[in-house]
Symmetry: C2
Subunit: 186 residues, 2 copies
C-alpha cells in the first residue's frame, strides 16, 4: 500500500540544507535537481517556497534538538553535557547556519522556538559556571555566542577536510574552555 518513497521528503530537506547553505538565494529548482526530484514533486510535499523554508527551519531545530538530546543523555555533569552537545552539533552545523542566515523575523513561531533553544543553552552554560567550568565574570551570552561560533568554525574545518568531526569538536571545546594560548607561556 505504501508506495511513498519515504526518502523523498527527507531527500528534499537534505538538498535544501546543501543548496541554501551555499547560496541562500538559490531557486526551488536547484533544490529539486539536487534532490534528484522534479519540481512538481517538490511542490507535492511543500506547497510553496515559504513552506519549504519553514519546514527546513523546523527540521533544522528538530534535528539539532534530537542530536543534542541523544548525546547528552548519559552526561554526568552540565559541563560534560555541553561538550557532548558540541560534538553532536558539529556535523549538523549547516542546519545551524541555515537558521542563522534565514530571516527568522518573518515567522514569529520559528523565531520564538529558536529563542527558546538559545535560552536553554544559556541555562546550561550557567549550570556549567556553577560547576566551575566557566568564569562567572564572563557574560553567559558571550559564552553562548562563542559556543555557536566555534561550533561553526569546527564545521568549516571538517568541510575543508582539515579535521575529522571528532578532532574539530575537540579543538572547539579546548578553545572554549582553555583558549589557544601556549601553556608554557602562562
Amino acid at each position: 500500500m505504501t508506495k511513498i518513497r519515504l526518502d523523498t521528503k527527507d531527500a528534499i530537506l537534505q538538498a535544501g540544507f546543501d543548496v541554501f547553505s551555499k547560496n541562500s538565494s538559490a531557486s526551488i529548482d536547484k533544490v529539486a535537481k539536487r534532490a534528484g526530484v522534479g519540481r512538481a514533486t517538490l511542490h507535492r510535499y511543500f506547497s510553496s517556497k515559504d513552506d519549504l523554508m519553514e519546514a527546513l527551519a523546523w527540521a533544522a531545530m528538530d534535528e539539532l534538538n534530537k542530536a543534542v538530546e541523544d548525546a547528552v543523555k548519559d552526561a554526568q555533569s552540565y559541563t560534560e553535557g555541553l561538550k557532548l552537545a558540541l560534538t553532536a552539533i558539529v556535523p549538523l552545523s549547516n542546519r545551524q547556519l541555515f537558521l542563522a542566515n534565514e530571516p527568522l523575523d518573518k515567522n514569529p513561531k520559528i523565531a520564538k522556538a529558536y529563542q527558546k533553544d538559545r535560552q536553554e543553552l544559556i541555562a546550561d552554560i550557567e549550570k556549567a559556571k556553577q560547576e566551575g567550568t566557566f568564569s562567572s565574570d564572563i557574560p553567559s551570552k558571550w559564552i553562548a555566542e562563542s559556543f555557536e561560533a566555534l561550533t561553526y568554525a569546527a564545521w568549516v574545518m571538517v568541510n575543508d577536510g582539515e579535521a575529522t568531526h571528532k578532532q574539530a569538536a575537540e579543538l572547539a571545546w579546548h578553545t572554549l574552555t582553555a583558549g589557544l594560548s601556549n601553556p608554557t607561556g602562562q
Copy 2:
C-alpha cells in the same frame, strides 16, 4: 563642478551590506530604498546586480584591509597586531559576513583575493606562535577560523546591544588567547 553626491555610491554600498546581511536574497529594489535612492540611480552606479555584488565584495575586502592596516600600524609585535586587527574588524563584521555568505566561487578574482587575505592572516598567526602567544600544537588554520568566528560573535554581541565594540573585542581576544575557563579552577 563636482555635483556628484559623493555619499551616494557609498550609501548604496552601505545599504547593500545592511540589507544583504539580513536577507541575502533581497532584491536590488530593497537596497535602493534602504539607501534612500531610486532604483534607476542605483543602476547608474552599478550596471547590474552582479556588478553591485562584485563591488560589495571588493569594498568589503578594501574596508577590512584598510581598517586592519591602519590599526596595525603601530603594533609592537605580531600578537599585538592581531589584537588590534581584531578590534578594528569587529565593527566591520557584516562585511566579513557578506564575504562569507556570498557564493565566491562565481568570481575567481574575488575568491583569489579573499584567499590571499586569509593566507596573510595565517602567516601573522604563525608569527604570533613564534612569539609564544599560541600553542604550536594547534593548527594555524584552526586559530584563523577561531579568530574569524569569534570576531563575528563579538559583532553579534554589539548588534544585540550586549556590549560595546571595545568590550566585545576584548572578550573575543580573551577567549582566543585564554579561553573562558575559570582561572581559579585551573
